[in-house]
């Protein structure tokens, strides 16, 4: 599903250049649930941004679902993001003046899906995250866990190839975190490929594979026995 070869990325900080990713080789098969771990500054967010086409690498290859991701302009990147990727953010990033359902329907809007179908799909995904009865509520009326579930529904709505979650539980207490992870695991059980960036061990343990990043290189890549989050809920 994801194929990365010799990925390099550096940032210019004034006269200095900060080499963040120093040759990453990495691949993800369909249906995997991968945790990307590392301390702050290890390059895990940069890697996720490049995977999410929010940023571009300086060199190296990136193939997503057989499509080489290169020479992206903003328009093309936006289209690929819409088609291939679903984003889950630490701070949820729901649009605060839109109802839960409208938030979920937003990626479909950019896919030019018609209104009726959009609403149906959005409701369907809200139901899957257990928030159908909250469809008309604004984000400000939802709890943190509910917001993240709406965000997950939104990420799923466009039926992307890969879900990218950047510290999805970073802003949540542990109980809510496990609920969210439970949901992520269930989505993964349905065959979706998910990448989770986290620095929390227990969250990483709930994935099927852990990739450790340190100073811009992968230091460890191991399959783990998945801890089911439902045990904690």
């Amino acid at each position: 599903m994801i194929e990365i070869k010799n990925l390099h990325k550096s940032y210019k900080m004034g006269s200095n250049s900060l080499h963040v990713l120093k040759g990453i080789d990495f691949s993800v098969a369909e249906g995997e649930l991968v945790a990307i771990m590392g301390s702050s500054g290890s390059g895990k967010s940069t890697l996720l941004n490049i995977l999410g086409m929010l940023d571009t690498a300086d060199s190296g290859d990136y193939v997503l679902d057989g499509v080489p991701i290169e020479n992206l302009n903003e328009t093309k990147a936006a289209q690929y993001r819409n088609k291939f990727l679903g984003f889950i953010f630490q701070s949820f990033n729901l649009i605060n003046y839109k109802s839960a359902m409208e938030n979920v329907a937003l990626p479909l809007y950019y896919q030019k899906v018609n209104r009726k179908e959009r609403q149906e799909k959005a409701l369907n995904y809200l139901e899957r995250v257990g928030l159908k009865q909250w469809a008309t509520h604004l984000p400000s009326e939802l709890s943190g866990g509910q917001k993240q579930r709406v965000a997950i529904a939104r990420a799923m709505a466009a039926e992307p190839k890969v879900l990218l979650a950047d510290e999805p539980t970073g802003a949540l207490d542990s109980k809510t975190s496990y609920e969210v992870m439970d949901l992520i695991q269930k989505i993964n059980d349905d065959g979706n490929t998910i990448l989770v960036v986290t620095h929390e061990e227990d969250i990483a343990e709930m994935c099927k594979r852990i990739v450790h990043l340190k100073d811009g290189v992968i230091v460890e890549d191991k399959k783990v026995e998945q801890v089911r989050a439902s045990a904690y809920v």
Binding site: N49, G52, L54, D55, E74, T75, A78, Q79, R81, N82, K83, F87, F89, Q90, S91, N93, L94, I95, N96, Y97, K98, L106, P107, Y109, Y110, Q111, R115, R154, A158, E167, G170
Partner: protein, 417 residues
């Protein structure tokens, strides 16, 4: 078509509605600008209409020619010789100058603006008495209150009829009395009143108190022979009055042995000069109003752009999210530009409605007053031009915040604080 996209408009209205106070404050600039633009345009239209009303019934492309005394000796004649036009001059001039539409010869009893006493049943009025052709009505329209004006039959059979002014009527008749059909006496000759007219208060070449009788009747009744006092001439619209004026003078100077250099022997007054002066004035005024209005509008629209820039800054994160979810730069740009257009248009329409209402009230308030403002209102082309200009300006100005929004990298927008 995206323009019919309900969701697009929903998005725009939701964003604008999110912060009603700010949206409203932003709009005030444009509302006021539109108000100023429309009031200025409407006001100058009203002034132009007011002037037109003053000149209503007076042929603008017209001139008056009369005779005076010579100021140069010529062909053995001394200076100071009194020139007297003859009625045949009218026919000669009309024949030689095809550009003349109407030529109405006129004669006055006594010298110019001389007052003649007109009697009726022991009452009297000091009036100016004119011998006229019906054509004069095409140059200075007489507003008839009662009866009719002189006609061709009156001329042909030299009927002893007259048309009197309201002032004359007041002096000679009781209030409510029927004047038409009654006789009045001028220099011992009786004339039957056939019409009463109301003089134009603004442009009055005939004097306040005037009596018109047929030219031919005048000749017979007062023994004026072939004399002619002056000529009122309307020139066709495509010809400049001064051209005809000099042609007429040339013919008359040759006929009456006047030195070509003599500027004073023949007097004339070019009505079109007055008109041109006033229409130039109103045109300049309109242009100026438009100029001022458009720049005020520009200022208003810039205020909108400014606010949208702030909004874009505030919405950095939202725009980042939208882009992460697949909004292309084009879509983001379009939304911001449309927000600018919607804000401006809405504000513009509010300003337009207020100002049209205000103009209507001003029009009612000033109606019939001394201020020469009549029906102050803007016309459809002016509205269309202002409106299109407003939309065009807002589109251009909206591009500034739109480009700013597109420049925001989603990654920067989404960076966790």
């Amino acid at each position: 078509m995206w323009i019919f996209d309900r969701d697009l408009w929903g998005e725009i209205l939701a964003t604008l509605g999110k912060n009603i106070t700010r949206t409203f404050l932003t709009m005030i600039g444009v509302i006021l600008a539109m108000l100023i633009l429309i009031l200025l345009l409407g006001g100058s239209n009203g002034l132009s209409n007011g002037f037109n009303k003053i000149f209503e019934g007076t042929a603008s492309n017209s001139l008056f020619v009369w005779s005076q005394r010579t100021s140069e000796p010529y062909k053995g004649f001394e200076r100071g010789r009194r020139i007297r036009f003859k009625i045949e001059d009218a026919a000669i001039i009309k024949k030689q100058i095809p550009e003349i539409d109407v030529l109405a010869p006129r004669i006055e009893l006594g010298s110019h603006r001389d007052v003649v006493t007109v009697y009726r049943k022991g009452r009297k009025s000091g009036s100016t008495v004119y011998g006229d052709y019906p054509e004069i009505d095409n140059i200075t329209k007489k507003k008839l209150v009662e009866g009719r004006f002189l006609n061709q039959t009156d001329i042909e059979s030299s009927k002893k009829v007259c048309v009197i002014g309201e002032e004359t009527f007041k002096l000679l008749f009781d209030k409510g009395e029927t004047a038409v059909g009654q006789d009045i006496r001028i220099n011992g000759v009786f004339f039957k009143v056939v019409g009463i007219y109301k003089p134009n208060n603004n442009i009055n070449i005939d004097g306040e108190n005037a009596v018109f009788i047929p030219f031919t009747t005048f000749q017979k009744a007062f023994n004026s022979g072939d004399r002619m006092g002056w000529m009122a001439i309307a020139v066709n619209e495509d010809t400049k009055v001064p051209v005809v004026e000099s042609k007429i003078k040339k013919i008359l100077k040759a006929k009456y042995d006047i030195s070509p250099k003599d500027e004073r022997a023949i007097g004339s007054f070019d009505m079109s000069e007055v008109f041109n002066g006033i229409s130039a004035f109103t045109t300049v005024l309109k242009g100026f109003s438009f100029f001022v209005g458009i720049f005020t509008l520009l200022a208003g629209v810039i205020a909108i752009s400014n606010i949208l820039l702030i909004t874009v800054k505030e919405r950095t994160k939202e725009i980042g999210v939208r882009r992460a979810l697949g909004a292309t730069p084009k879509v983001v740009k379009r939304q911001i530009v449309l927000e600018a257009i919607v804000l401006t248009t809405f504000a513009g329409l509010i300003g337009f409605s207020i100002s049209v209402g205000a103009l209507g009230l001003i029009g009612i308030a000033l109606n019939g007053g001394d201020i020469p403002i009549e029906n102050p209102m803007i016309n459809i082309p002016q509205f269309t031009v202002s409106f299109l200009l407003m939309v065009a300006l807002s589109t251009l100005i909206g591009l500034i915040p739109a480009n700013r929004a597109v420049k925001i990298k989603p990654i920067e927008a989404l960076r966790e604080e």
